[in-house]
């Protein structure tokens, strides 16, 4: 009995937000759409938390497509962790978005897709096999398109088309991999340690081919994570979306790509299969290249949201780098970095959104160097911005610091690549400090010549304030409570390695 209830819970955590979202297209049930959306997001988050903490981790088959292919879910450890993270950030971003979206109609369409993206992200997290993962990965692309092109302007459309093209190329690569894994796998179900049919591979002498396929699949899924050859949609698409959308795009949806890569590495191929192969080395180098490029471009970029988007390119690749180390410390670092980056990047985007929202009152605050002295007008916002920056740079006690600490110690076990990686990580941290800290210092300490008489106190709406403060605080708290996360990782994910 309990099993049926828990299965239902897991299915509902995926399907409920999607249904609730699409219900928005029908005739109004609630006069005030914000009430409806808030209510539904809350219920969804509740279901997801309940599922993450209580549901059993058995395979739930929704339907069978062929004998060995099915749409199936499994609430295993990574799924639990990631869906909790998604639910937490989503509730806060939704809270924030009410005020913001008042000025950006049409509300119905935005929330319909926003809510269903919520469900689909959870679906990506608890996909039980590669088919389900691919399905939800594609759906994620299509559901986020309307979010990116929300404003329906020329730039937005162009960005959407770019986003679509890159995502599709990525998905196409993944699809090719999918076909191969279907033939060379024992089953299609995610199994810790991989489901590849090693005997078949060695008897057909096709190890190199399978490695190539894995590499291409990882690159394909990397498109969502902004990995280098397919990264350039990210700095185009994220800034044009409305701020709540860009917050989740950067904070969580890029992580969907990472989760997919994680599944391929640890559940399809298996860490043992990849350890020491050229695929590992190549991906490590690609991740490092992405880290460096992202930081460098963010450093050069003047436009505020674009700078944050470039920063995402670099920060998400930290996760890829850590994940591909294939060591316990690597996994610890990756999980910590996912959590820390999700909250701090959302916080950064939301703060930037407040600045732009504030800018609608008159001034033009789109560029990093225009923010001088803004801390006097928006103290809470800029404080949160500072907290998130601290975490992104990796200053001690913040979430980013512990993540990078584990990452570096994992990398050093790996020899020359690792040492090179640590050097890049250091440089990138410096660059991160270089592109984020000046904004904060300028905002709070505009200098002697700043004219304090023009300061107009701006009353930040309460729900925005709550969202920002909670996200900013959790950027630090992920560092403070890193020990608990590490315990969870040690108990559940380290066994994946061997």
């Amino acid at each position: 009995m309990a099993s049926i209830a828990s299965n239902f819970l897991v299915l509902m955590s995926v399907l409920f937000p999607i249904i609730a979202g699409f219900a928005l297209f029908s005739r109004p049930i609630f006069e005030d759409r914000h009430v409806y959306v808030g209510f539904m997001t809350f219920i969804s988050a509740g279901i997801i938390f309940l599922a993450a903490f209580c549901a059993e981790s058995n395979l739930i088959v929704l339907c069978r497509v062929t004998q060995d292919l099915s749409i199936a879910f499994r609430m295993d450890a990574p799924a639990r962790a990631f869906s909790c993270l998604v639910a937490f950030v989503w509730v806060l971003v939704t809270l924030y978005s009410f005020e913001y979206l008042r000025r950006r109609p049409p509300v119905d369409r935005f929330y319909a897709f926003f809510l269903s993206t919520f469900g689909i992200l959870v679906g990506v997290a608890c996909a039980g096999n590669l088919l389900t993962l691919y399905l939800f990965y594609e759906l994620l692309t299509f559901m986020t398109l309307p979010l990116v092109m929300h404003s329906q302007q020329r730039e937005a459309i162009r960005a959407t088309v770019k986003y679509l093209l890159y995502s599709l190329i990525g998905a196409a690569l993944a699809l090719g991999g999918f076909f191969f894994f279907h033939v060379y796998g024992v089953s299609m179900e995610f199994t810790p340690g991989g489901f590849l049919d090693i005997a078949k591979i060695s008897s057909e002498n096709s190890r190199e081919m399978i490695l190539t396929v894995i590499f291409l699949t990882l690159l394909g899924f990397g498109a969502k994570a902004g990995l280098v050859p397919l990264h350039s949609w990210l700095p185009t698409a994220h800034p044009v979306a409305p701020t709540p959308a860009s917050a989740v795009l950067s904070g969580l949806i890029t992580k969907a790509g990472v989760i997919a890569m994680f599944r391929v590495v640890y559940y399809v191929a298996g860490a043992d299969f990849l350890r020491g192969t050229w695929v590992q080395t190549a991906l490590l180098y690609i991740a490092l290249l992405t880290i460096f490029t992202g930081s460098m471009m963010a450093f050069i970029e003047k436009h505020l949201k674009k700078r944050i988007a470039w920063s995402s390119v670099s920060q998400v690749s930290y996760v890829v780098f850590a994940m591909m180390l294939l060591t316990p410390d690597g996994i610890r670092g990756a999980v910590l970095q996912i959590a820390a980056h999700a909250v701090s990047k959302s916080c950064l985007f939301l703060s930037a959104g407040v600045v732009i929202y504030f800018a609608l009152m008159g001034a033009n605050y789109h560029y990093a160097d225009q923010l001088r002295g803004i801390g006097k007008e928006l103290p809470v916002t800029m404080t949160c911005f500072a907290l998130a920056s601290v975490s992104l740079i990796g200053l001690p006690i913040s979430g980013g610091f512990t993540a990078k600490w584990y990452m570096a110690s994992g990398a050093l076990e790996l020899g020359s690549v690792g040492i090179f990686g640590v050097v890049i990580l250091m440089i990138s941290a410096l660059l991160t400090a270089g592109y984020l800290l000046p904004i904060v210092t300028d905002a709070f300490f505009p200098g002697e010549d700043y004219d304090y008489t023009i300061v107009v106190p701006f009353h930040l709406p309460m729900n925005m304030r709550i969202a920002l403060l909670l996200l900013g605080a959790s950027a630090i708290l992920t560092g403070v409570f890193a020990g608990n996360i590490i315990d969870f990782v040690d108990a559940n994910m380290i066994p994946l390695l061997y």
Partner: protein, 501 residues
């Protein structure tokens, strides 16, 4: 006789039922849309009959097939029908698709075709269905030729039924290309008759096997096979010969486009499959090197169809070019030249016969919401006027892109799995993947446009008829059903292909 006497007569009954319906329609009183109701009713009866036939054939336990002599004489002397799982499933799919096309487009049919012409339209539809069923069931290649000609004339007339100058021109062009195709097919049949002395498919097969084993008449056999293939390729719009298709499908009424791309092309392709599997046999096809050519043409069609669709302004033409690409998928499956490949091709025939009429019905719903404009731009925001049509478009687009859980993915998957052991695997993989991306590049913008609010337009309200909603609902349900539960179907199709040969 491994089946009961009623099931044994089903192929004959369904063909003659359609024919009699066609013949009686002009005499009927032309009131209250009686002719249309009659067509729908007869097609519906055929749906039930072929469903029963599938049931009987798969549960009879004995041999899966039977031959039905049309008259007192068995195969080499008299005409014969042959029914097996493949034929039964395909005729079921054709009838379902025909019924849903007629129902889903009945509103736009009523608008586009005046009442007097609608009688003739119904006659033509009945004749077309009858000829498709005959093409599916026939075991005699000359009978197939005669019914192909019925099919062609009825299809051209259905294009011309709109009576606009463009549609007349398109029909003429279609007619000319089809005539070239049937001329080539006819001379190929004559050559084959001369070499084998038979017109019945299985007897031809026996002789051809002998000839190939003795290496006699290899050159004439190759030429005959090539001419028949080219002829049928022209008729089924394989890419280099497909220039007539966008004209014909883009300029006709919606129901005509739906029927043409959903059924007419498929009938010809199925005849080609019969010629390949039943007349020549797969080894002979491989010996005569026809499989690689078909495979390569299929890949070219997949890519070029999509590339051409990318630059279309008119939605109907876009969907028509997409048909060209989809025909490429089918030919790719045939070109694999294995039982699994041909079964996958048949699955794609069924998938496309479901999805394409759905797309046309959706477009007809959307464009009537947009004041009958067919340009993509004019469809902006029509989702909110006719939600059923919008949902149909989305489901169709997802299916064409190959999103899992939609019909297109199932056939892509089976095509891919069928091609895995062949040496050309990497090409088909690349083509399938590229074409999925290309499909998405024109279907997603269409979906986006339909979903985008247009603030400059006044709000339109439209009453969507119940029959439209029902047929759209069935269409969408079928699409998802095929995407999720195609495994039994695919197994049946594979068995059908094995017993066909």
């Amino acid at each position: 006789m491994s089946v009961n006497i009623f099931a044994y007569n089903i192929p004959f009954i369904s063909i003659f039922l359609m024919m009699l319906a066609a013949i009686i329609t002009p005499i009927l009183p032309n009131r209250k849309r009686i002719p249309e109701k009659l067509s729908c009713a007869v097609v519906f009866v055929n749906v039930i009959l072929s469903a029963y036939l599938i049931y009987v054939l798969t549960n009879s336990g004995g041999s899966l097939t039977f031959n039905f002599a049309m008259g007192n004489f068995p195969a080499p002397w008299g005409n014969e029908l042959r029914a097996g799982p493949l034929e039964a499933i395909l005729s079921f799919a054709f009838c379902v698709s025909m019924l849903l096309s007629l129902m889903g487009n009945s509103d736009s049919t009523a608008e586009d075709i005046p009442e007097k012409r609608r009688v003739i339209f119904c006659v033509l539809v009945n004749l077309l269905t009858a000829s498709l069923l005959a093409l599916t069931y026939t075991n005699d290649i000359f009978t197939a030729y005669v019914f192909i000609e019925i099919n062609t004339i009825a299809a051209c007339a259905i294009v011309a039924v709109k009576e606009s100058p463009e549609s007349i021109r398109a029909a003429l062009r279609y007619m000319i290309m089809s005539s070239v195709g049937s001329g080539l097919l006819l001379i190929a049949i004559c050559l084959l008759y001369d070499l084998t002395g038979h017109l019945s498919m299985q007897n031809m097969n026996l002789v051809i096997k002998n000839l190939i084993a003795n290496r006699e008449y290899i050159m004439p056999l190759t030429v005959a096979l090539a001419l028949a293939t080219i002829g049928l390729a022209i008729k089924s719009a394989l890419y280099p010969f497909a220039s007539w298709l966008p004209d014909a499908h883009g300029n006709s009424t919606n129901v005509s486009s739906a029927i043409l791309s959903g059924l007419v092309l498929k009938g010809h392709i199925f005849l080609l499959i019969k010629i390949f599997v039943r007349v020549f046999g797969l080894e002979a096809i491989h010996d005569l090197r026809m499989d690689n050519i078909i495979f390569a043409l299929g890949i070219i069609a997949m890519i070029m169809g999509s590339v051409n669709a990318l630059s279309q302004v008119n939605v109907k033409r876009m969907i028509a070019w997409s048909s060209v690409a989809q025909v490429g998928y089918i030919f790719l499956g045939i070109g694999l030249n294995t039982n699994a490949g041909i079964a996958a091709a048949c699955l794609h025939i069924i998938v496309h016969a479901t999805v394409k009429p759905m797309l046309y019905a959706a477009v007809s719903g959307l464009s009537s919401a947009a004041g009958h404009s067919k340009s993509l731009h004019a469809l902006m925001g029509t989702f909110y006027v006719n939600r059923w049509a919008g949902l149909g478009l989305i489901a169709g687009a997802f299916s064409m892109m190959g999103i899992p859980a939609f019909a297109g993915f199932a056939s892509k998957l089976s095509l891919m799995l069928a091609s895995f052991d062949s040496p050309v695997m990497i090409f088909s993989l690349a083509a399938l993947v590229t074409s999925s991306v290309l499909n998405a590049l024109y279907y997603v913008p269409a979906v986006i446009v339909v979903l985008t609010h247009d603030k400059t337009k006044p709000k339109v309200h439209m009453n969507v008829s119940m029959i439209y909603k029902i047929s759209m609902g069935i269409f969408i349900a079928l699409t998802i059903y095929l995407g999720l539960f195609c495994v039994t179907l695919l197994r049946l199709l594979t068995r059908g292909v094995i017993v066909l040969g």
